[in-house]
């Protein structure tokens, strides 16, 4: 089954936040933000802006009725700056006007008298000065010092990986609608209903039951809408104070310039292998370029840290990790949540080792792949390890040895172009590393006409989670998928929901939905048994929209059954809860079982280099990915294909850069330099490899 939203998308009928019709006179809010990377506000003059045409109000930290705070992990991020400025783009004031254009014009009239202070932009320098978020984390397993002495080959080096702009198509935005009794409804493009719900209540100074956060769908998230609440809370504050609908929609350049990105990292690594090519020891220090506030960075770093060994068996390992506080906009989650960075270091180290040993990197990687019985550095022993199976499946599809030979032959024969290839395995732990987040609930209603409504905490952002939940509900209840509608994600129906993140959306919310539907099914089969005079309720089932007894279809169809059950006063509504069992991670020892299971994959990338021009073409990417028993092959294939190209973008053309003053350079250039407006390279169709072969791997 395909994503149910497809037919809406192609007709332009899918509603995103800015498409929601608003009754009455909706106001528009625009942020005025810090022009300096570090400084102190001496005085702020909003008078001219407040008097500008069309302006209704200008708000600052003084107007916040509750807590002037949106910090996600630590309370270190004020909604509006009070005195200290920590990055360019930090919100200082909010201009609310009758039109977006009027608000934008007025925001340019705000002046701030400030003292500029020295800023830090280098993560290593920040770490050296002790400017870090949270604590330095250290994970040790075995004895690396002793093991290095036994190694035949030891290589070490420094690495860095760059940031990446999310470029979700729908920029950060929210629409806030005030209600009676000081309540408020907020429609937002947000991945974390529970957390943002709490931020809203805290800032407005009202209990959470007065706040309703509603999320229909996102025009892309990729992690960028998981933790930073500024753009949702700010319009809500204005609507709450003005008692009028207020919308805030970031322009693209504003979004690029002021929102978080994938973290750049720096790394020091040292790897040692025995004469046979077995990894004996690995040390890596991770410096995460987090930015001015912690945001969700420590959690991202935690995942890099736990995945430092990649797909490999490493008996002696020492990993250290620090989240470095610098004066750039706080970075946040981005697809992979730190795992790509952790993996990058070990893959680079192994490739370095292979080059130094004069052996093929792929051979070295294959030799060290995780297997059943191996332990991960934090003590967990993964079961049913599919690393080798994925590798073998890829080999079967592409014949790695033949590909290697072909490349060698090609390079022998060609001077002006050369080919290269790389094989890369991945092992990704599934679950939030923060154990508490591994919970979800579902609310399922069956109406007397037989239609079914499901609410969960999962947020639809194109990844198809709603379609998967719809499938789960329909299968469990024995009805057609068209009977089931997955409702918006809404905090009044589903409270305290975890973010849709960490590849857990369908797992957690799907299980909760299954439980809720099982409960309903049990009530209905029990009722049906009595209704049909069957003495063995356990032989009664719901199948293909009808009641069956011992597999035989009865005359009692779904619609009749539901109507009769309701008339007989059977509860047709159910709420269920799911918490992933047996998870733990002890932060004091860095030992435990943080992940329920691991997802494996292997890719082969083939590249053509043009030696004359110094350019390259990615000719083909072959991927085998273990998706288990898929609920929708079309959806899973799309997820893997999309991720491959996003990762390719990160590793190749996508470059977010910062000016020496800490400004996100892309946006500056877009505004200031006429000729370089195209300097926002993202993968576009002509650039992406013509051949992406995807082999989904079942159990």
């Amino acid at each position: 089954m395909k994503n149910v939203d497809l037919t809406l998308h192609v007709r332009g009928l899918s509603q995103f936040v800015d498409d929601i019709p608003v009754h009455g006179d909706c106001l528009h809010a625009v942020l005025f933000t810090s022009p300096v990377a570090r400084g102190k506000i001496r005085s702020l003059d909003t008078g001219r802006a407040a008097a500008a045409p069309g302006v209704v109000a200008v708000f600052t930290h003084r107007d916040v009725p509750g807590l002037n705070q949106v910090g996600h992990i630590f309370k270190d991020q004020p909604l509006f700056a009070v005195e200290s400025l920590e990055y360019i783009g930090q919100p200082i004031a909010l201009v609310v006007a009758q039109t977006r254009r009027a608000a934008q014009r007025a925001a340019r009239l705000i002046t701030v008298d400030l003292e500029k202070l020295d800023a830090v932009f280098d993560p290593r320098e920040a770490a050296a000065r002790g400017m870090i978020h949270g604590q330095k984390r250290v994970l040790t397993s075995g004895d690396t010092t002793a093991a290095f002495d036994r190694c035949a080959h030891v290589v070490q080096g420094k690495l860095s990986s760059g940031p990446q702009e999310h470029f979700y198509f729908e920029t950060q935005r929210a629409l806030a609608l005030p209600g009676e009794h000081d309540t408020i409804k907020v429609c937002a493009s947000a991945q974390a209903p529970g957390a943002f719900h709490r931020h809203l209540a805290e800032v407005l100074g009202i209990p959470q039951h007065k706040v309703e956060l509603d999320i229909r769908r996102l025009g892309g998230g990729f992690g960028g809408k998981e933790s930073t609440a500024v753009w949702i809370v700010a319009p809500a504050l204005a609507a709450f104070l003005l008692k009028r609908p207020v919308k805030l929609v970031l322009g693209r350049n504003e979004d690029i310039a002021t929102t978080g990105k994938r973290h750049a990292y720096q790394y020091d690594y040292k790897i040692g292998l025995d004469a046979g090519g077995n990894i004996l020891a690995y040390e890596v220090d991770l410096y995460q370029h987090a930015g001015a506030c912690a945001d969700i960075s420590p959690a991202v770093l935690g995942r890099s840290f736990l995945h430092a060994s990649g797909s490999y068996r490493i008996p002696n390992i020492r990993v250290t990790a620090v989240s470095c506080r610098t004066n750039i906009p706080p970075n946040n989650a981005f697809r992979g949540f730190g795992v790509p960075q952790g993996t990058f270091a070990i893959e680079s180290a192994l490739t370095h080792a292979a080059e130094s040993m004069g052996v093929d990197a792929a051979t070295l990687k294959q030799r060290n792949l995780l297997q059943d019985g191996d332990s991960l550095p934090y003590g967990a022993r993964p079961e049913k390890v599919n690393a080798l199976r994925c590798w073998a499946a890829l080999d079967e599809q592409v014949d790695l040895a033949k590909r290697h030979r072909e490349v060698a032959d090609y390079n022998q024969a060609h001077g002006d172009t050369k080919r290269g290839l790389a094989v890369l395995p991945v092992c990704f732990g599934i679950s939030f590393a923060q154990t508490a987040l591994n919970q979800a609930s579902a609310l399922v209603h069956i109406y007397v006409d037989g239609s079914v409504a499901v609410s969960t905490g999962a947020v639809e952002m194109g990844q198809g989670v709603n379609t998967k939940i719809q499938i789960v509900a329909a299968r469990t209840l024995g009805v057609g998928v068209d009977r089931v509608r997955v409702d918006t994600t809404n905090t009044s129906r589903i409270p305290n929901a975890s973010p849709t993140s960490a590849s857990t959306g369908a797992d957690l919310n799907g299980m909760a939905t299954k439980f809720a539907c099982e409960e309903l099914r049990s009530r209905l089969t029990k009722f049906a048994a009595a209704h049909l005079g069957c003495e063995h309720p356990d032989r009664v089932e719901l199948r293909d929209e009808a009641v069956t007894i011992e597999g035989r279809r009865t005359d009692l169809g779904w619609q009749k059954l539901v109507a009769a059950a309701q008339w007989a006063r059977i509860d047709l509504s159910s709420h269920a809860f799911y918490a992933t069992p047996a998870l733990d991670l002890d932060p004091s020892t860095e030992r435990g079982r943080p992940f329920a299971y691991y997802s494996y994959g292997t890719s082969l990338t083939t590249v053509l280099l043009d030696v004359t021009r110094g350019t390259y073409t990615i000719e083909a990417i072959d991927v085998v990915h273990d998706v288990g028993q898929t609920l929708s092959e079309a959806i899973d294939r799309g997820q893997v294909e999309g991720a491959v190209i996003q990762g390719m973008g990160w590793a190749t053309i996508e470059q977010s850069r910062y000016a020496p003053d800490g400004r996100v350079l892309t946006a500056v250039l877009l505004h200031a330099l006429r000729a370089v407006r195209k300097d926002r390279p993202l993968p576009s169709l002509p650039l992406t490899p013509e051949q992406v072969f995807m082999y989904l791997h079942g159990p």
Binding site: I635, L685, L687
Partner: protein
Amino acid sequence: MPSLIINDQDVRTEAPPGEVLLDLIREERRLTGTKEACREGECGACTVLVGTPGPTGVTYRACASCLLPIGDVEGCHVVTVEGLGVESLTVVQRLIVEHSASQCGFCTPGIVLSLTGFCLASETLCHEDALDALDGNICRCTGYAPIRAAARGLSEDLRGRVAGKPKRVEALVEAGVLPRYFLDIPGRLRSLATRPAAGRPGKDEVLVAGGTDLFVQKPEELREAPLAFLSRRRDLDYVTTHADSVRVGGAVTIEEFRTSPEVLRHFPTMKSDLVLHSSAILRNKATLTGNIVNASPVGDATIILLALGARLVIEGVDGAVRETPLSGFFTGYKKMALSCGELVREIVIPFLGSALFNFEKVSNRVTLDIAAVNTALRLQTAPDGAIADLRVSAGGVAPVPLLIGGLERYHGRKADEATGAAVAQVVAEAVTPIDDIRGSAVYKRLLLGQLVKAHFAVITDGRALR
């Protein structure tokens, strides 16, 4: 008060002619299927079709509505996603669904419009044209594989059914690509308040060519400004062949130029060379003259025309006409020999004849990106294979687009690898690149030398390096 047809509705608006079409569509008309995602023509989410009435019927092209002033589409038919699939899904929409070529859905309406634009504009309906038509639509979710597959399916479906039929709109209605109301549009446009035939721009008016750069730079100022549109100069919308040259009117778009049979007869590589210029939704509006008077030191079209020895015909305020070689046109960074009120009315491009031509461009992203360095070469050999004439242009390496001088010394030399290396060295020494976001001065100088070597490799091998 601009009047136009949006989908099947006649629309009159009070909005100023300088307001961009996207705002009219979303805010005034509440047609929210068209998305705003960058307002710079860079992403394709706001793509619409613009149908312009002309002597041969209504010509439809996909354009970025965020850079398109309403005044420029007066008297036109604008199609948004709501204007397709009125009763049931169109073929394009159905194929996107079938291939799951949409995830979050925000870019999808633009992709539907670009592919529909391909169906209307591509003569052969081949797969390559479909991909070219999509090159301005970024999708952040799918990784493009299913979009590519949908485009292939579309091309395969329509080639037999539609290509070659005389009346494209009628054939596409029949094929289920366009809804039936399209058939009435030509008549309805005729009865619409007529499209004013503009003469020369008034004294205070800003002349807008394609607007694809201007409306990125200063949309706010232009919104309220009095504007004159080059697209109204029907007298400048021509490509003609003369005894020794192709002559291109000042209103011709990059896409018209790139796909013109007249142009391709004499400059066969132009179609592929100018794909690198910009995306389809911009090429459909951006003009060749606009690219020249933008005076960017690295403009692709300028660099190509410099090597080809193009001349400009310039019309003065009083209607007087003068001619100047393009090579003498640029006088300094963003400065040119064009006085206030003057207009480039024609570009004269001498035939390539038996000369060889090659264009090279390297940028961070392979296509659609501003070049770090670009260069073109025109080389005429004598019957004995010796160089008779050699012109090399280079962009991104000086304040102005450069035609490299002093290459006469290679006349009489053989056009081979050794000469290429020597020319490369001379060219690299003749330029003055600077460090900027697209690369260091050292890199650009090195790259230019390599690209000149690539010119010689291509023309001597008779094959394009990948």
